[in-house]
Assembly symmetry: C2
Homo-oligomer: 395 residues x 2
């Protein structure tokens, strides 16, 4: 394979992803329903005929402008087989199908999408991993400069990766003026609206429609657990903070879930499997959502914590599970109060928090509205938008 055109190495396949060639195609053999590729590094990958035909990238099968598939696999026979297969001089896999169609597969692309066990394990290992934290994060808070983030794509990416992997960040040097979040939100994508508005003002209000809009101690929670999809990122921008009290406190919900998993797997399990109702009502809205407190993703990893005691409905579970459900719920809340997990900071005017609202629980200590003004503005941006922006910046 040394004759391979070096310009092909890492050639982008018109979808802004590139597929470096880490191993060459060494041999192809056939079974009744698949091809077996042997790679130059010894790995063997099966590719079913259906899968190969489905992923043909020719201009009949994929529309070049959108890079979206035109073929639907149901339009070729289920038993379609190759008539002939070979590796061409550029190291690509060529398949001539029984029905006269031809497909050509780039070796880097094939390797990146192989589904033998080793290849799948390799991809799993490459997924971004959350960096869990406890109280020690207070001494090494990921802090970023607002102006740099606005002006420089490198600084933006650096910040967004910390948001994704750590889940708690601070921006400094933010104008202490209402609306500054709009511009920042646009650096990622768009702001997710809610019934509380595009931007929401966190102030003590007489006619509060949430305990967030009082001066009370607000226990550890995620925002809008009452929605099927909790907002991904939460921004809290401090315009003025002259009142006594009102400190911001954070815990890493993933770290607590992990600690609970270690300490009492049966309590962790019941929080993963018991749907709990969260609700919020006002004169014009009535939201209800039924979902477990800890959600696992398709790979069984913790992907979300959903928690706000003040928005929770009565537990509705089989009677025999109720004692254990309370043990689990009590233990989870008790952990959010343990100093080893808590980061406490007082936000100053011109600073803002940006954190993963589906991971990092936040609390506010009680404040005295008579002692001075306290005004934060907040907004939400969804996780999809964060990840899309990171992908684009990493192209």
């Amino acid at each position: 394979m040394n004759a391979l055109d070096p310009s092909l190495e890492a050639a982008p396949i018109a979808d802004w992803r590139s597929y470096p060639i880490s191993a060459d195609l060494a041999a192809v053999s056939a079974t009744h329903d698949s091809l077996e590729i042997s790679w130059s590094d010894g790995r063997v990958s099966p590719f079913h005929h259906q899968w190969l035909r489905d992923n043909c990238a020719c201009s009949q099968c994929v529309y070049g402008v959108t890079r979206e598939q035109l073929l639907e696999i149901v339009d070729v026979p289920e038993e379609l087989s190759p008539q002939r297969t070979r590796i061409d001089e550029q190291g690509h896999l060529l398949v001539d199908w029984q029905d006269g169609h031809h497909s050509r597969f780039h070796p880097g692309w094939l390797r990146a999408h192989a589904y033998d066990e080793a290849s799948r394990a390799e991809r799993r290992a490459q997924r971004p991993q959350s960096r869990l934290w406890g109280a020690e994060l207070a001494e090494q808070l990921p802090q970023f400069d607002y102006q740099a983030v606005l002006e420089d794509d490198g600084a933006l990416l650096h910040w967004l990766l910390a948001v994704r992997d750590v889940g708690l960040t601070q921006l400094l040097g933010v104008p202490a003026s209402a609306g500054a979040l709009q511009q920042l939100g646009k650096r990622i994508s768009f702001i997710r609206e809610s019934n509380f508005g595009v931007l929401f003002d966190v102030q003590s209000k007489a006619d509060a429609d949430s305990n967030a809009y009082t001066s009370f101690n607000l226990p550890m929670h995620t925002d809008l657990p009452t929605r099927e999809l909790q907002p991904g990122l939460q921004f809290l921008h401090c315009l003025v903070n002259d009142a006594r009290g009102g400190e911001s406190i954070f815990v890493d919900g993933f770290a607590i879930a992990e600690a609970l998993h270690q300490e009492a797997p049966e309590l962790f399990h019941i929080l993963c499997t018991t749907p709990v109702e969260f609700r919020n009502k006002s004169r014009t809205s009535d939201y209800r959502c039924l979902a477990p407190i800890i959600a696992l993703d398709a790979h069984g990893l913790v992907s979300e914590v959903r928690m706000a005691n003040f928005l929770r409905g009565p537990f509705d579970a089989p009677a025999e599970r109720m004692p254990e459900l309370y043990r689990a719920y009590r233990r989870f809340i008790a952990m959010t109060r343990e100093p080893r997990f808590r980061v406490q900071r007082r936000l100053q005017a011109g600073q803002l928090w940006c954190f993963d609202n589906r991971r990092t629980l936040h609390a506010r200590s009680e404040f005295d509205p008579a002692s001075g003004a306290r005004h934060f503005q907040g907004c939400y941006v969804d996780r999809d938008e964060l990840l899309s922006r990171i992908h684009v910046l990493q192209r």
Copy 2:
């Protein structure tokens, strides 16, 4: 219990829900960790001490303005027991706790939240049920008048219930002017923005960033399966439809999932449990979402279909599952093409579709852009907003 004050019957408990008294409290007995309530109709409901204390509705435990809980259950001992319990002259359950706290429970509220098996089954049976449909819906399309929906809350509710339960509706008498969807969206709540905008224009475009923006046949799909939360409702508003072709076609994804479940449970199962990647890319965005094609809710019922062949990535599953995954995927697509499931209609200017984008798959037949103009405007509203609006209208 005949002495019960009739004014208490169905008294709203300050949260806009009312709890009619269908049975009276007849007796209370105690076990080591719970009270057992016997009702006048013979039902017996256990209520654990922790559950009762957690749900105390007194003004120390719940803030009256927001109706949100102040107590966190972890603040009372795990072994807290009642010192004394009784049924008062108004039929309420009174509990005097060992620590001096007092709780009072309305019998209608208690019955509505009881978690004995019979009470839970009763609540399950009362949940709104999807009305599945096939080709016959074309003759009985749920149609509503745009002006009536804008002006009359009764007409609005009638329409929204059809959207919730049938998942495909048509509004007639809509102004054929761009932007009319804005006003309609506000009747429910707010419009969900996406990278395609608040309103999006469905027209054939030279630099299409989705096959939706071509004149091609567009196979059965849900919109934005590339997002963790697919948009709940989709609106398609016809401004002009003078081109040849371009018919709208719909199938009930829940009906197809159910038919597949009946016909081949193992194929249904593999579509419920295999995460599939959907993706959409442009110069400024790069969305990827990994989720199964059929999602089940906490009760094991089909809650969502996620499908757009043109946005799907290569299947990534263990090799031994691949043949069955293709069988399932082929069968699902083949079913979306069966006439028994399909509703086909040509939308006229001044009409719009509103459908459940997570249930009702839609397709567009190829059109000839040279034969006349075709311009639809679309937008999304989330399921949370639909259900919240229905709850408020039903108060």
